[in-house]
C-alpha cells in the first residue's frame, strides 16, 4: 500500500466538502440568501432561540427600527404561505395567513396537528388540539419559530412558498365517517400527508396539487389555503 493513500482519501473528502460548500452558497434559495446576507442580526436571533429555558415566545425580530416608535403600522403580510421543515423532527410545517388570521398544519407522516390563530405585529400564534402550539416571527421572507405538538417541541424555519407548494386540506364524509386530509408540499417536491378518520389516521395518498385523490374508494378534493382558510 502506498503510504499516502489514506491521506489522499482524507484530502478527497475535504475537496468534496469544499465543492459542496461553494455550490451550496452559490445556489442558496432567495429566502436563505437574505438570512445569510443579514449576518449578525439573524445569527443573534438564532442564538437567542437556541438558549433553552423558560419558553421563549417567538423571537420576534422587529424589522428595520428606522422610525422607532413613531408609527406602529403593522407590517404583517396580508396574505402569505410558509412551508418548511421542523428541525430535529423532519416533519413538515406549513403556516398560512390571511388578513390577520393564521392556520397551520404540522405533519411528520405519523403525527399531525391542525392549528388556528392570529397574525399580528409580524408574529403568528396558533393553537390546536393535543396541546399543539406554534409561535413564529415573520420576516425576511420566512416564518421562524417554535412548534409544540403533544410532548414534542421543535424549532422550524419555513420560507415563503408559492402554489403549487404549500398547504392543502380536504374534508369529506365517507360512509358516515368524517375524513380530514392534510398535505404539505415543499418547493423541492417533497410532501407529507395524513388522512384522519374519526380519531385514527393513515398515510395520505400522494397529492398532485389540483387533482383529486382517492381514499377508501372515496374521492377527496384537496383545496389550497385560498379556498379553505376563511372556513377553517
Amino acid at each position: 500500500m502506498k503510504p499516502q493513500g489514506p491521506f489522499l482519501t482524507l484530502v478527497s473528502g475535504l475537496v468534496l466538502t469544499a465543492v459542496l460548500g461553494v455550490l451550496s452558497v452559490s445556489t442558496a434559495p432567495e429566502a436563505d440568501t437574505v438570512a445569510v446576507a443579514e449576518g449578525e442580526p439573524a445569527a443573534a436571533a438564532r442564538t437567542g432561540a437556541a438558549v433553552p429555558g423558560p419558553t421563549v415566545t417567538a423571537q420576534t425580530v422587529p424589522g428595520p427600527t428606522g422610525t422607532a416608535e413613531a408609527e406602529p403600522a403593522d407590517t404583517t403580510p396580508k396574505r402569505a404561505d410558509y412551508a418548511g421543515v421542523a428541525q430535529g423532527n423532519g416533519g413538515l410545517v406549513a403556516v398560512s395567513i390571511k388578513n390577520g388570521k393564521a392556520v397551520a398544519y404540522f405533519c411528520d407522516g405519523r403525527v399531525e396537528a391542525w392549528l388556528k390563530g392570529t397574525a399580528e405585529n409580524n408574529t403568528v400564534t396558533l393553537t390546536g388540539k393535543n396541546d399543539s402550539l406554534i409561535t413564529a416571527a415573520l420576516g425576511d421572507g420566512k416564518a421562524q419559530g417554535k412548534l409544540q405538538v403533544g410532548k414534542g417541541k421543535w424549532r422550524f424555519t419555513a420560507p415563503l412558498v408559492k402554489k403549487p407548494s404549500g398547504l392543502y386540506r380536504a374534508v369529506a364524509t365517507v360512509r358516515g365517517a368524517r375524513l380530514v386530509g392534510g398535505w404539505i408540499v415543499l418547493p423541492s417536491g417533497r410532501q407529507v400527508g395524513l388522512v384522519a378518520a374519526d380519531g385514527s389516521s393513515s398515510r395520505a395518498p400522494e397529492l398532485t396539487p389540483g387533482s383529486p385523490v382517492t381514499v377508501d374508494g372515496a374521492e377527496l378534493r384537496p383545496e389550497d389555503t385560498d379556498a379553505f382558510i376563511d372556513r377553517f
Partner: protein, 189 residues
Amino acid sequence: MTIPQPAMPAAEKRGAAPWLVPLLAGGFVAVVLGVYGRAHTPTGFAVGLSGFSGAQAMKSWLATGTFLLAIVQVVSAMAMYGKLRGVRAPSWTATLHRWSGRTAFLLSVPVAFHCLYALGAQFDVPRVLVHSLLGTFFYGVFVAKMLSLPKRDLPGWTLPVLGGLLFTTLTGLWLTSSFWFFTTFGIAL
C-alpha cells in the same frame, strides 16, 4: 535505566507517540464538527445529488450505500485477518477493502455535509441527539484510522478496534437516520 538496553528506547518511543497524532487529529476533527454544527446558523438548504424526491431521501439512500459498503469493509477485513473460517483471503481482498472504504467515505460526505451545513447539531429529541453525537464521533474515528494506517509501529489491534468502532458508529448513524426515514416516510427514492 542506566544500563544501555537497545530495546528499551524503541519500546518507550512506541509508548505514546504513535498514538498521539492520529488520536489528537481525530479528536480535533470530532470537536470541530460538533462545534460547527452547534454554533453556525443552519441554512436549511444544501446542494446534494439530484434525482431524489428530497434531501432526506437522498441522504437516506447515500447512507444506506455507505452502510452496505461498510459491511463489505467488515467482511473483507475479517478475511484479511484470517477470521473467516475456511476462507483464504483472495489476493484482491486488500484492493476491495481499500476501494469499498473510499467509496463508502465519499458517499457519506454529501450526507454529513447536508446534516451539518443545512441542519446543524440538534439535541431536541433523542434520535437526533444520538445521531448528532455519533456523526461527529464517526469522522473523528475515521480520521484517526486513516492516520493510523500508514504507521507501522502501532499494536496489531489498532486497526481492528478503530474499524470496529467505525462500523458500530455507522450502524447507529444508519439506524437513527435512514432506517428511521424509511420506516416513517416509507421506502421511496
